[in-house]
Structure formats: C-alpha cells, structure tokens
Symmetry: C2
C-alpha cells in the first residue's frame, strides 16, 4: 500500500527497528485495515500520517461527526466515500469487511462506548490513552472485548519507541543497579480553544465530563506509565497534592497542577509533576544504586526521544530518528502484527486499566488534603 | 584580623556583595568572636576557613571532645589554648568575654542542649540546619534564646548566597508570573563511615538517635527551604512516600529515599525527592504562569550555585563566584552584623522551627501509607 513509506521505513536505523520490534511485512502479508474513529488533532496530525510507517496497516474507513473534514481526510488517504461513517450509523462498521480494527481518538469519556460498540461489531480496538474517563468504564471495555473475542490495545506510544525500550532493557539488565529514585515531569500551558482544519473549537480536555480530569489524565499519565513500564514495578503507595490558580477560567473543572509521590515495594521512590498551566518540558530521570542515572528528555512527546545514561558503564547518548509519525506508526504496526499473528499486545486493556486505577488513587489522595 | 582575606573579599564581584548584603567592616568596627562548637567536617572544612570572608567575625574559641584535633585547629586559627573547651566544661564559655556567639555544628540531636546552654551562658547562637532532631527541641531552643535575650539564627547558608537571593528577587518581582510548579531534588550515596583528620568515624547521620531522620533532615531540607524562601509561601498540604532497599545496613534506622508533594495556597504544587542511596544532583526548578522557568543547578551545595532563567524576558545565566567558603562566610557575617546592629537575622530560630514542623508532617505522611 505504501511503497514509498516502506522504503523510508526500511531505511530506518537497525537499532530502532530492533528496539521497536517491528518486522517488515513480507510481500505476501495481509495488512490490517484501520477505521479511524474521531478526526481530531491526534488522528489527523499523527496517527494517519504515521500509518505510512506501519507496513502491516492501512487506513480504510473513517468515523466523524463532520462530513466536510471527513471528506477531505478520506480523499487524502484514498478512503472510499462509502467508508465514511457518522456516530449515528457507527454500528454499520460491522458490515465492512475491510475494517479489521478501529483506532479510537475521541474525548476520553467516549472511549468506553465506542470501544464496546466496536468490539460488538467484531472489530479489534486500538484506543488512545487515557483508556477512559473513569475506572468503571475501563473495566467494561476490557470485559466487552474479552467477551467479544476481540483484541484491545491502549495506545501507549512510548512503549513502542526505541529510546524508551532501550531504557527499559538497560534498567532490567541492571545497568543502574537497583532503581532508587525517579523524578518525572510533563506539563504545558493549555489554550482554552484550538484550531482544527480552519475551525476554532473549545478544548474538551478542560471539561471534566469529557476528560475525566486534568493534566494527569492527559500528560501526567506518561510519567506514571513510564515509571511502571521502564522499571517493571507497580507502585505500592501513592500520595498527591494538586493546586489551581484561583480565578483562571480554564481550571474551573479540572486541576491545573499536580505533584504526586509513589513508593514501590522494591525500595524505589518517585516524585512526579504535571501541569496545564505551564510548560514543564517532558523529562524522566531514574537513578540507581550503582550511582548511575538515566535521563530521557524529551521523553514523551512527538519529537525524537533522547536517552542519556551516566555511571555503571560507558556513557550512553541515544537519540534514534523516531519522531511522532514513526512513533504512531510503530504502535499501529505492533497492533496490526498482534492481530495477524494472534498475539496479545504489549499494552493491552489491562495495562490501561492499571493506570486508570492508579490515577484514581492519585486524585483521591489529592482530594484528601 | 584577616588582611589577606579582606582583600580577597573586597575583590569579589559587586553583584555578589550586593546580593549577599555584606557590608565591609570599617576600621573602627568591633568584630564578633565565634566559639566553634563541634569540630567536624563542616566546621573544619567550611565554617572556619569561610570566616576569612566574614570581615565582622573571627574565631576565638573551640569546643571539642577531641583534644588532639582541637589543638591542631586552634593552632591553625591562632586560638589561645585556654580558649579550648570540652563538653564537660562547656558552661565556662560564660566567663569568656571574647566569645560573643557560638556556632553549633554538632549532630542534630545535640543542637538543642548546646543552644540552650549557650544562650544561658549569655551567648548568641548560630546553629546548623536542621535546627534539631525533633520539633519539641526546636521549640525549646527558640524559647530559651528568647528568654535569655540572645539571638538565634539557623545556618541556612543558601539564604545568604547571591544566586538564591537573585532567584528570590526575580520570583517576587513577578518575572515568572504566578509560581505554578516546583521540582527539586538533592541526594547522594552516603558512606557508612567517614574520615576526619586521619581518623575513621561512623556516620552519625545514619543513626536515628543522633540525626532524627535520614536524607530529608540532611539534604532534602534544602529543597523544602528553597521552595519556601524563594516563593515566600508556606505549604498548605503535604504528602510523602519513603522507601528503602531491603537489606542495606545503612538504612536500618533512617529512610533511604523520600519523595514528597506539596500544595501552596496560591496554586503552586511542588514535587521533591531526596536520597541517601544515590546522587540526585542538586537542582531546584520553578515554573510560572508567564511560561517562564527558573532553574538552579547546582542549587544547594558547596560549589558556586548557578541560576538560569528562561521566558518572561531576556534569558539570564548567573553564576557568581561564591563557592562553599564564601557561602559560610556570608552567613557568619550576616549573623555578626545582626549582633552588632541589634537586628533579627534573616533566618531566625522561628524559620528553622517552621521547617522542623514541615519535616515532621512529611515523615508522618510517609508513615501513614
């Protein structure tokens, strides 16, 4: 489907390929048809263009409430007009045999409904993070996909990114010694509205009913997930404090700033911060008992991530050429291969559910004070 | 007293002088005689050599349990042998009119006893941080100095250091906008023993009875104090998680790692980390609503501190030549001038007591989970 992108892809660094565990599709491979559910900033700007880096995947359908934007995007990706759906006729995707999987990029509170409807329509589901707006929704998503016999993967992009994978491998191989302290931050100054395809829209991430929470749900979750993914440990204790500037209309419904502390059973402590009020950059630092440290910066966003390691051996400075589109391509490819080979994704629904439960604990801790 | 050092001092940068608010002593000035209580790493390595940068101060007496080391140090600083005291005859300092003030550099748990005895002996007290091992001790110290009519200052070295003072001034002038998020870390890999003047001694900082706690008491306190000092705000909510590697004999009595979160009433959140298990460097970062950030690194130790500011105006990179000895000299000078001019020190006992109460809340929060 993507001869040019296949060439681009194969030209990528061997290390990146190996780290991301992407296998180039063979000529005889079937490819997975994705239906894009929700045409917003992520699907238009990243997921769809990223598919050129997913040799086992191709876009075949669209679900959108906006016929104008849907028509533009469908034309851009050679999607047939009859494969454009609205939310009212969403369940008709069941009849479209070209659709193997859906990619859900809706506001958080809608993830559960459309994941469950997609599974019932017989489709596998790749759902954006955070998995949902509430724990109970995430539980229903896992149950629905299980009972429908469909795969569910949460789009933890970083878990398919070579620098993150390298960090995880080094930590688990003991390069830093025993992990002792994590500090991580991710925050930005959010606008009350955004532009999309010539239109101005209000920021749904500031509406509790749609987002379920503030920066923790949106960007803080990266710090949380990286802490778990890179160390392979689950937090045993969580405490948190959140704060908002009085009078800022953006933060009437969701928190502005949040700092949280975690304790892991092995003796690791983590201090994390997130914000919708100010850029905190996007860093992840882990220090271990060999007096060695790992720093990722940028660690989470759409620029190529960078991993630096000092102590415990020769210094390492690893920044694979793997920015946003390739990151989205890698996760789309992973899920496509899981479907083709009947494997469980690295970040299944249960992984998203774990974060949702931890996020609920963080919010509960912040409310307690 | 120190003609060479006076010249060194006057050669220092004007900015540093202004920031540290040190006024060169005039020829007619009286100087303050310090009695050094406790000859350990800090007093031998930093405070005493730092006095050459304190034109209004001079060392006049020593209290030590070790006659050999006391004799060496007395000779080095021209202190008369009759001005060397032991702890048994400590109260005799009352009779030494050359002693205006004591500098207390003992293990934390001994601060209260010797502060109170010094005040009763009619001496002003400059006491190392942390102020004490327990809140109740700190309260007694404040009360004893007040009732004796003697000044009490806690040796918050950074509050007399030009980069910290510049940071505080910029933040309070609104350069960053409203302070939103702080992240701060200070930690190191502690040895179970240390060398002093040719002897190996066990590390008292790992003994709960002497230290009162672990890295939070020793180095984490810098993150806490900087958060309060630079913003001028007091935390309203505090949460914490601490952790220790099982089996490490260093951490039988005190915590190894500690992460804590703070909320300030104005809408500021802070995420801090400290460790005795691994170096975390020594950084302080503050981001504000003008999408401007301040980073201090190094922020707390004996190297010259560095302040970098981005956003909210022209970038700033300020690293005054003001390493350890000058920092100790600046605080010794400040206290000497306060005594000479009958002023209240910038970091009085009440300031140390505030930190002690917050530290107790951090430990209580960490124990709760």
């Amino acid at each position: 489907m993507h001869p040019l992108s296949r060439r681009d892809f194969l030209a990528g660094s061997v290390a990146a390929l190996a780290a991301a565990r992407i296998q180039p599709a063979t000529a005889s491979s079937k490819t997975i048809g994705y239906c894009i559910v929700g045409l917003g900033r992520v699907s238009i700007g990243y997921f769809l263009p990223g598919l050129k880096y997913a040799p086992s995947a191709r876009p075949v359908a669209i679900v959108s409430r906006d016929p104008r934007i849907a028509a533009i995007i469908a034309r851009r990706y050679g999607i047939a007009p009859r494969h454009i759906y609205g939310y009212a006729d969403f369940d008709r995707i069941a009849d479209n045999r070209e659709i193997d999987a859906v990619y859900i990029a809706l506001p958080n509170a809608l993830h559960a409904e459309y994941t469950i409807r997609a599974a019932r329509a017989g489709k596998h589901v790749l759902c954006e993070k955070p998995m949902s707006a509430q724990v109970e929704q995430a539980e229903r998503m896992v149950a629905a996909c299980r009972s429908a016999g469909r795969k569910l993967m949460i789009a933890y992009r970083c878990q398919y990114e070579p620098a993150t994978l390298r960090a995880r491998q080094l930590v688990r191989a003991g390069r830093l010694g025993r992990p002792l302290v994590i500090t991580a931050r991710f925050g930005f100054d959010i606008s009350p509205s955004f532009r999309l395809m010539g239109e101005t829209r209000p920021e749904w991430r500031l509406q509790r009913a749609l987002a379920g929470g503030g920066p923790l749900m949106d960007v803080g979750i990266y710090c949380l997930n990286a802490s778990r993914f890179i160390t392979g440990q689950e937090p045993a204790g969580i405490q948190a404090e959140s704060s908002s500037q009085p009078g800022d209309p953006r933060f009437r419904q969701v928190e502005e700033n949040l700092a949280w502390s975690m304790r892991f059973p092995s003796g690791l402590a983590a201090a994390c911060a997130t914000s919708y009020g100010v850029s905190l950059g996007e860093s992840f630092e882990l220090s271990g008992s060999r007096n060695a440290s790992l720093r990722m910066d940028p660690a989470y966003g759409y620029a190529s991530h960078r991993l630096q390691v000092t102590g415990g051996g020769a210094p390492l400075d690893f920044q694979p050429d793997f920015s946003g589109h390739r990151q989205f391509g890698a996760e789309a490819e992973h899920f496509a291969r899981c479907i083709l080979e009947n494997r469980t994704p690295r970040s299944p629904g249960e992984e998203g559910l774990r974060d949702m439960r931890l996020i609920a604990r963080i919010y509960a801790a912040a409310r307690r004070t």
